[in-house]
Symmetry: D2
Subunit: 367 residues, 4 copies
Amino acid sequence: MDEALPLWSAFFFGESRIAQMSDETRLRAAILGASGYTGAETVRLLADHPRVEVRAATGHALAGKALSDIFPHLAGPSDLAVVRPDDVDWSQIDVVFGCLPHGTSQDVIETLPGHIKVIDLSADYRLSSPGIYESTYGRAHAAPARLQTRIYGLPEWPQNELEGSELVACPGCYPTASLLALLPLVGAVIDRDHIIIDAKSGVSGAGRGLKEGNLFSEAAEGTHAYGIGTHRHAPEIDQELNRVVGRDDIAVTFTPHLLPMVRGELVTCHVRGDADQIHAALTNQYHTAPFVTVLPLGSPSPDTRHVRGTNHCRIGVWPDRVPGRSIVIAVIDNLIKGSSGQAIQNLNRVMGWDETLGLGRLQPLFP
Amino acid sequence: MDEALPLWSAFFFGESRIAQMSDETRLRAAILGASGYTGAETVRLLADHPRVEVRAATGHALAGKALSDIFPHLAGPSDLAVVRPDDVDWSQIDVVFGCLPHGTSQDVIETLPGHIKVIDLSADYRLSSPGIYESTYGRAHAAPARLQTRIYGLPEWPQNELEGSELVACPGCYPTASLLALLPLVGAVIDRDHIIIDAKSGVSGAGRGLKEGNLFSEAAEGTHAYGIGTHRHAPEIDQELNRVVGRDDIAVTFTPHLLPMVRGELVTCHVRGDADQIHAALTNQYHTAPFVTVLPLGSPSPDTRHVRGTNHCRIGVWPDRVPGRSIVIAVIDNLIKGSSGQAIQNLNRVMGWDETLGLGRLQPLFP
Amino acid sequence: MDEALPLWSAFFFGESRIAQMSDETRLRAAILGASGYTGAETVRLLADHPRVEVRAATGHALAGKALSDIFPHLAGPSDLAVVRPDDVDWSQIDVVFGCLPHGTSQDVIETLPGHIKVIDLSADYRLSSPGIYESTYGRAHAAPARLQTRIYGLPEWPQNELEGSELVACPGCYPTASLLALLPLVGAVIDRDHIIIDAKSGVSGAGRGLKEGNLFSEAAEGTHAYGIGTHRHAPEIDQELNRVVGRDDIAVTFTPHLLPMVRGELVTCHVRGDADQIHAALTNQYHTAPFVTVLPLGSPSPDTRHVRGTNHCRIGVWPDRVPGRSIVIAVIDNLIKGSSGQAIQNLNRVMGWDETLGLGRLQPLFP
Amino acid sequence: MDEALPLWSAFFFGESRIAQMSDETRLRAAILGASGYTGAETVRLLADHPRVEVRAATGHALAGKALSDIFPHLAGPSDLAVVRPDDVDWSQIDVVFGCLPHGTSQDVIETLPGHIKVIDLSADYRLSSPGIYESTYGRAHAAPARLQTRIYGLPEWPQNELEGSELVACPGCYPTASLLALLPLVGAVIDRDHIIIDAKSGVSGAGRGLKEGNLFSEAAEGTHAYGIGTHRHAPEIDQELNRVVGRDDIAVTFTPHLLPMVRGELVTCHVRGDADQIHAALTNQYHTAPFVTVLPLGSPSPDTRHVRGTNHCRIGVWPDRVPGRSIVIAVIDNLIKGSSGQAIQNLNRVMGWDETLGLGRLQPLFP
């Protein structure tokens, strides 16, 4: 059982099992931007991954600090120190998880040596069109050619390309939930011209940046929408919906809301189509997917609490009271399936490993 | 200044100003069902009403208790005891606020003496059709004839009928927010066949009933939808939208979600129509309404925190990224504008008083 | 009734009643530091004060903005713009509410013209000893002489000095609750050498400053202590306990905890003394105090929810299971009785007005 | 790696690895009272235990339902149905986890066949004195003789007796945190006559019982104390403190508070003693304990967020500002180390296994 015993247990048990594992069997990872939530979550999850070892965690403002001073929940005897990217010996790194803000992310990633595989969690490589990137994110992309070769990493959607890929762009949290719900439907089952996504997210989706609106006193006990008609995840959703059906005319209504909870994301998709057909299409698509559960027709709504702390997505379907309309609801943990967990799932696919490695044991923390 | 000094101040200041006010100048009210949230909130708000005095609070299971033992926040020297309806001297009561569950409400209200005006906060008199009442609430109505004569009390919608009415049915919380947003639009500004209401409510909207799903441990830190395609407020919204335009074919999609917050309700209306025209119609409708504010175009989303503790509704309008679609968002405090506050506003209108009496001083509690 | 109608109603009702009130009858106030929570709360509460009118709100970083752009819950047609202190015509101001951080507060206050009365909510004038101020706050006081003449404004404690005072230092939130519970006891009823205060506060007590620990994602769903053995409010509590009994040897243990709630503060005082005597002393002290309620022996614990949104303090007393020990618990709303409400109460006392003006109508927002 | 792959992964991955494990290598467990939080949490945690298999889950009101209908977060293809205790074939069960309310627990446990080991999470076997049990819990114990033979299962406190024990009484959540902090100190390091425990707990500690005070609307956004001077966990703490030092005169002050969070418990121990000596005693006691971390002197307060979802306890020590006093703070997840996790740790010790089995991989869910 030694091989399966995770790094994390070594943190807490004061034993060093790492030495027992030869480097050959474990991929050496660096986390770019370890001082944010997605960086910390990636470190946390990788501690239980049997074939990856985190060797470096980078940061600017907090360089020199122990990661456990920033995030005490990551404390342990084998703890990492945050270093500047320039201080990493990249020859000793096999894979990078990019957890930087968009813009910054491409600037660092484009300077990495060619042997390093990149799993990027930022928005920088999600959009395949340099023009749409620029209009959406307000700057020209530093490496527009890479947008053609990177793989958009939604691992549930049949993507044989993932294996061996050099650069994977992990979907945004909202696109993850929305696309898992809609991709199997957009080909034939629902009306492409009537897709309305009403989305709800916990506050951790806004990251660790310091804004008044994210303070407890202003984010608790209330709700509001934001980015109405303009959110950056909408073009990303359009892109993928169009791609799978070979079109360019699908445009969704996407309206996100901020909810007073830390983790969790729920998307309510108001569509036109038959609930039975929708349910059949989803079930058919995901019946072998380890991380997606399609609830039986007639179930209660999926609940973000039932996926909290896991890499799972749960999807439900209901006929509307208005004939011809249906409601499809998907829930995820925005920091795991919507971010760090999916990144690890993508790495597993890139490496040709079982895609559940390091993720299969996560259980929903309820209540 | 004596006249304006509210009853509530007497509670806390240890002085009895009540004796200084002759009964002639104050309406004598009874609260039916004072042990629930809407009952308690009605008592609380009426304590600051210059022309109403609460004389009786009824309950069954808790009869005999002081109201302040049930709700310590209502404590004061003039405190009320909860009594059974049979123990009230109805000849000394001018108006009743019905805060009972639906079903029970009609059973009590139909036995009251004819001189008593009724402001009913339950669902029992909202639907004008006995058939739709029965199919929606699962029982035949005890007084179907009253459904023709009662007034549906959404006071912002021009209703000259309110003055002098004997029985007012206060709208449900979701219909209140939804109708305030949509009633001015359904005539000409938006497409009646494409109305989707995605609604979000705090947990107090579920009342004080004991269910696992309303426990803190199960309602905190997550969200889910409920009543998808079947919620009882949908026929009520249909009814009023149809009524104002003299049709019977409007049917809305209505999908409510439970949010981890106590108070607050936000409805996101996905409609087809021009945002400028929608904004103009709403502004035109409400520019003199004391409790409805239409935000300027380009504003951030209305926030439930900015109406918490008040009788206000705030409405915003945005063009969608998909041409021809718009998003209209309304927020209220579900226990005040969505329930007890609106009930008092309705009484004010029934009596021909300034509709802000007892409500105008409420300020949003933020943060 | 016109006189009693508050400014706030004018905000929301679109009517300007301000013009009907001559300036002679209303004190003209300026808020220093209106962009923080105590500043905003002071503006909010004064809107319902019949004898004070807010004429200016100052700020630095946000100067030029409408106050309602910063705090939409303060919106209204008579809205204030934030201005720099230099841009205020101080000759038109009668009283200033100092809502600035400590350090900054004294720097501004000491430059104000002499005719202006000052109610300071910061920590700058609370400690009467310049030496203790310096050791506690890490800088020499700019006006040490003023520390001798300012009045420490805990209005419930017999302070005939408040009337006519030029400079009132409002107590900190923790000292407010702690001193209301302990001041009547320290003379004879409890053992002065065994006072342990275990305090709990909502996050709004930390103000609007941007720190990771105050983000929703890090302040929700958990608790921790802080300032253990070193919190700045401890010397302030010592000072007042010693002052009322003419000693200098009282030193309390004070351990605050941050709780995942916005408003509310509860102090649990572990003392040695007889619960009956303690209860009698508290009851005797506060039986005429409009804002302090001593609960009957045997009551459930006071609850912050029952004072939320009000200027009230509720105190309860229990005998411990260990003979000779008792527990005294006090709750307040930290932003009202612990800050802005008490400041207004102090102004009322300074002016010789009824101390409940502008505060008496506030009711607990429950649930 | 197959052996290490947990049962839980089989739930979610649609594969049945259970068949690959012979029954000989796995203990067969039944959960008594699976419809409460501790029952559900025990099921959840055991799904990742390599040497235990849950074979039965009992309940009364919910018998016949699938466990995943009650707790969807436990869903999976190998799902359990809830059965009445009478319907369990006890000959196929090796160990029982008692998750019933006190009173009920003893009534069921005393009827079990003698070959079954019992890990009881209720209060029924915690107190060794039948008299104190009766005065504390209001009924005579059904099996007073068992109170002499059961083992009080706080596994960190040297207890060679645990191995082979037939009946383990798991400590209450408050005693767990309090005793971990105080047991190493009470012998010599602190004054036994001055122990004050001010405790704070999340709402899940109150269980799944339906009471108004546990509703989200009444438990959110505020705090209060309860059981002041009378809480049932105080005699339990006294018992163990006295036991380890062979005395009978230690009596603690214990004052619990309910906090608006789901999970987490923090105890603040106000003691007399030297912080350095206290820290040394704790460090010495726990330096090899896998689940207890003593923070370095000078650390920030332990935070319940940093142990949420784990079986860990974190303890910190501070000198007070009053010479001779110190503050010791311990945090746990009340449902894991305070309940189900500790129960499993106890089973591991009973069986002579590594005490971290099934618990070592749990990581703190932050944020």
